[in-house]
């Protein structure tokens, strides 16, 4: 229990002292997960909406695949990405294994299905005729997609948060493809794991708290947007 107290104290210390290492780690977490989330939004929201609109055999199967993807185990993603990026793996020539780039890649792979799945559900949940109304207004396919996205923005933002939360908090993939290299590919979660295995529970807790704080701030901003847009 006192450990947690110590942790909080430690966290405050680290934050107030602007410990450069912690700062670097935090920023890297933000950069990696932020980029990954943005990528996943581009891919996920569009493909989710398209999937919701399209009618084709095997749609249900594809949807299950997407939903399965929502629970893509970070370790598994990490494992496969590693194997592909190995020097003598199929993508070895990229030479990006154990770099932040690789982490962005892995996290993007984790976040995309989450965003896609939630988009899919939200768009499907809009009134059936709304789609017709938009088409009746002469919308092209991209316009249709865009307007539907705007109409579903409320649950979509939840999707964004889920996606971002999912990746900034995952550790399995980051450790495997990033290597947790000090000052280079070490992010908050991997650092937490390491400090734990070092037995420095207080530091671990401190880092966790910083991570949570970070998530909270970002979510608070997103929620503000979401709720400002609330129709009622």
């Amino acid at each position: 229990m006192d450990l947690i107290a110590e942790g909080i104290a430690k966290a405050l210390a680290l934050l107030t002292s602007f410990d450069p290492e912690v700062l670097g780690i935090t920023l890297l977490s933000l950069k990696v997960s932020g980029t990954a989330t943005l990528l996943s939004l581009l891919v996920g929201i569009t493909s989710g909406t398209l999937l919701a609109l399209a009618e084709f055999p095997g749609k249900r199967l594809l949807m299950s695949l997407v939903n399965t993807g929502m629970g893509l185990p970070p370790v598994v993603v990490g494992l496969f990405v590693t194997i592909f990026l190995w020097r003598n793996g199929p993508l070895g020539f990229l030479g990006i294994l154990y770099t932040p780039t690789a982490m962005i890649l892995a996290q993007g792979i984790i976040a995309t299905p989450i965003v896609t799945g939630i988009t899919l559900a939200s768009v499907q949940n809009l009134p059936a005729n709304l789609k017709l109304q938009i088409l009746a207004l002469g919308a092209t396919r991209p316009q249709l997609v865009w307007i539907l996205i705007k109409e579903a923005r409320l649950p979509l933002l939840a999707g964004v948060m889920a996606g971002f939360g999912g990746v900034i908090s995952e550790v399995g993939a980051s450790i495997m493809v990033g290597g947790n290299i000090k000052g280079y590919s070490r992010v908050l979660t991997t650092a937490t794991v390491m400090e734990t295995s070092r037995g420095n529970f207080d530091v671990a807790i401190a880092l966790s708290l910083i991570l949570l704080l970070l998530c909270f701030v970002i979510n608070y901003l997103l929620t503000r947007i979401q709720q400002r847009e609330r129709p009622r």
């Binding site: 154990y98 290597g179 947790n180 290299i181 000090k182 070092r198």
Partner: protein
């Protein structure tokens, strides 16, 4: 609650290092102990640092660890009792076959480290306060160099296996325990470049957590496990473990022998 207490005494929490679990040794030994003693062993494989910390907090009953310096501090703070020598294997310095720092064949670890530093060749440190990390720091100490902060000196903060992978990928040197190295050898493409220096001995001790400090500790269980580890039949198994798979043993039993003065 005596009933609760009794219920609890069947469980024994063993905090140990990943190397013993990853090598598979414990998968051989634990079932035997459980059958013979009737205890249920909860093996928590973590970094030595965490294992030791669990001991200090009385969250483990018995430790099987390999970082002598930390262990002595641990005993000094009388967090533990009955520290017994169980076995050793050794550390090896591995690196890319082309050996940019040219340390191949060196017999002295310190000399090898000096060369690596001299050549500024990439060296990967576990940096996780594990036994291996402790040993590595010891060697650096002996060389009188301080690699921290050097561009060629990178800390992974990962387990042995992971660190070996990174080293292989980045074509760097690292210090590894033989067991893990042998286990991963096939996929790594790293070679043993320096071995045999007594400084590189990797000694495992079993320590019972001090019940005086932490009443909830399962002392009989801890004692029984310690006894089991140093018992002759167990030592036999340790000797032969891994021979079948890797051609050479992974651990050398040391029960009853004097403390090695390696360091």
């Amino acid at each position: 609650g005596s009933s609760a207490a009794r219920a609890e005494t069947r469980d024994l929490i063993l905090a140990t290092t990943t190397s013993t679990q990853d090598s598979g040794l414990l998968d051989e030994l634990i079932p035997l102990f459980e059958k013979s003693s009737g205890y249920f062993v909860k093996t928590i494989a973590v970094g030595s640092g965490q294992a030791m910390a669990m001991g200090t907090k009385g969250e483990a009953d018995v430790l099987l660890v390999h970082s002598p310096a930390a262990e002595e501090k641990f005993m000094a703070a009388d967090s533990g009792v009955h520290r017994q020598l169980v076995m050793h294997n050794d550390f090896v310095i591995v690196g890319p076959p082309n050996d940019p720092a040219g340390i191949r064949g060196e017999t002295s670890a310190t000399a090898a480290f000096k060369k690596i530093a001299g050549a500024g060749a990439l060296f990967l440190s576990r940096g996780d306060n594990s036994g291996t990390h402790a040993k590595e720091k010891g060697v650096w100490k002996a060389t009188g160099l301080t690699p921290d902060g050097q561009s060629w000196y990178q800390q992974t903060g990962l387990g042995m296996g992971q660190t070996l992978n990174v080293a292989a990928e980045k074509k760097g040197y690292t210090l590894a325990d033989r067991g893990t190295y042998l286990a991963l050898q096939k996929t790594l493409g790293l070679e043993i470049l320096v071995e045999g220096d007594p400084l590189l001995l990797n000694v495992y001790h079993v320590i019972e957590v001090n019940p005086g400090k932490w009443p909830k500790v399962n002392t009989p269980g801890a004692r029984a496990f310690a006894a089991f580890m140093v018992a002759a039949p167990t030592q036999e198994i340790i000797r032969s473990f891994g021979v079948a798979k890797f051609g050479s043993p992974l651990f050398f039993p040391d029960a009853g022998k004097p403390e090695p003065s390696g360091k």
